[in-house]
């Protein structure tokens, strides 16, 4: 059975340190990956992992990553919501790792909404 390795723990520690630093300051954006049952079954965990890798590759420290429950659109999962400071949230649907990397580079970093993957502007209440 697969076991956690020391390298896994180092990676978690480094990612936690990076995210902790971020939360002490102001973020440029927040990305919420929807982690309801349908989202997880559709691959939301890999979407989160791809986001973490993209942040590390770009040495980004001012983007908050978080999760929420499902948004009620199970057939459109995996989904994520991107909120840039001062701008309306954008909900992205039917994501893949490649799609979220593009969303990260173009929308989160560049401020340009990736309309071909977007469902709508706005955010549902999840709590």
């Amino acid at each position: 059975m697969a076991k956690l390795t020391v390298e896994d723990l180092q990676k978690i520690k480094e990612r936690a340190r990076r995210t902790t630093l971020l939360r002490e300051g102001a973020g440029r954006a927040k990305v919420t990956v929807h982690m309801g049952t349908c989202g997880i079954a559709a691959g939301a965990r890999n979407i989160m992992d791809a986001l973490l890798e993209a942040m590390e590759a770009q040495d980004v420290t001012d983007v908050i990553l978080t999760t929420s429950g499902g948004a009620g659109l199970c057939s459109r999962e995996p989904m994520a919501t991107v909120e840039r400071v001062g701008e309306a949230p954008v909900k992205y649907i039917e994501l893949t790792e490649n799609k979220i990397r593009k969303v990260f580079m173009e929308h989160v970093m560049g401020g340009r909404i990736v309309t071909e993957y977007a469902l709508a502007l706005g955010s549902e209440q999840t709590h």
């Binding site: 956690l4 978080t66 999962e77």
Partner: protein
């Protein structure tokens, strides 16, 4: 359309812990016990979230029952229970309002239909990074050996790489 499947136990664990977080848990403990002599794999998830009353516990593994106001139950528990039953095991649930919830699933370790544990590193990373204010403990025991991961230690720097 892409496939939807909970193909690993680590995905079920992520899903159940997300339930704990939606229920306001501040501490979540995940225990994996592998006992090959008894041919048993046990997964226990314990939280200090809002908990459920007895009537809610009774209905919690019903896939057509949910408490949307706190998103505490839904398909996740029934899928986890199905995974356990298909592998010769079962799922039990104990909970009290205000005291938290414990979900325990057992599996026949060698059962051909037991799902693999899968990528626990990704599950733990997702949980810890997305919920820095929550204290996660992960305990994995296998045939008398045990290791633990504590998110507080990872966060405050007290975790040191073991000398090998």
């Amino acid at each position: 359309m892409r496939g939807f499947a909970m193909e690993e136990l680590s995905l079920h664990i992520l899903d159940i812990v997300e339930n704990s977080l939606r229920a306001g848990a501040k501490t979540v403990e995940v225990q994996i016990n592998e006992d090959r002599k008894r041919d048993v794999l046990e997964i226990e998830i314990r939280d200090d979230g809002g908990g459920m009353d007895a009537s809610t516990v009774e209905k919690a593994t019903d896939p057509f029952f949910t408490t949307k106001s706190v998103r505490r139950v839904g398909l996740g528990l029934s899928l986890f229970e199905g995974a356990a039953r298909r592998a010769g095991g079962e799922l039990s649930l104990s909970s009290k309002p205000g005291e938290g919830t414990t979900v325990k699933a057992t599996f026949q370790h060698s059962h051909i239909d037991r799902q693999p544990l899968g990528d626990m590193a990704k599950t733990l990373t997702t949980l810890i990074i997305s919920n820095l204010a929550v204290h996660f403990r992960y305990i994995h025991r296998e045939n008398g050996c045990e290791y633990q991961i504590d998110s507080k230690q990872l966060m405050d720097g007290s975790w040191k790489e073991p000398a090998i």
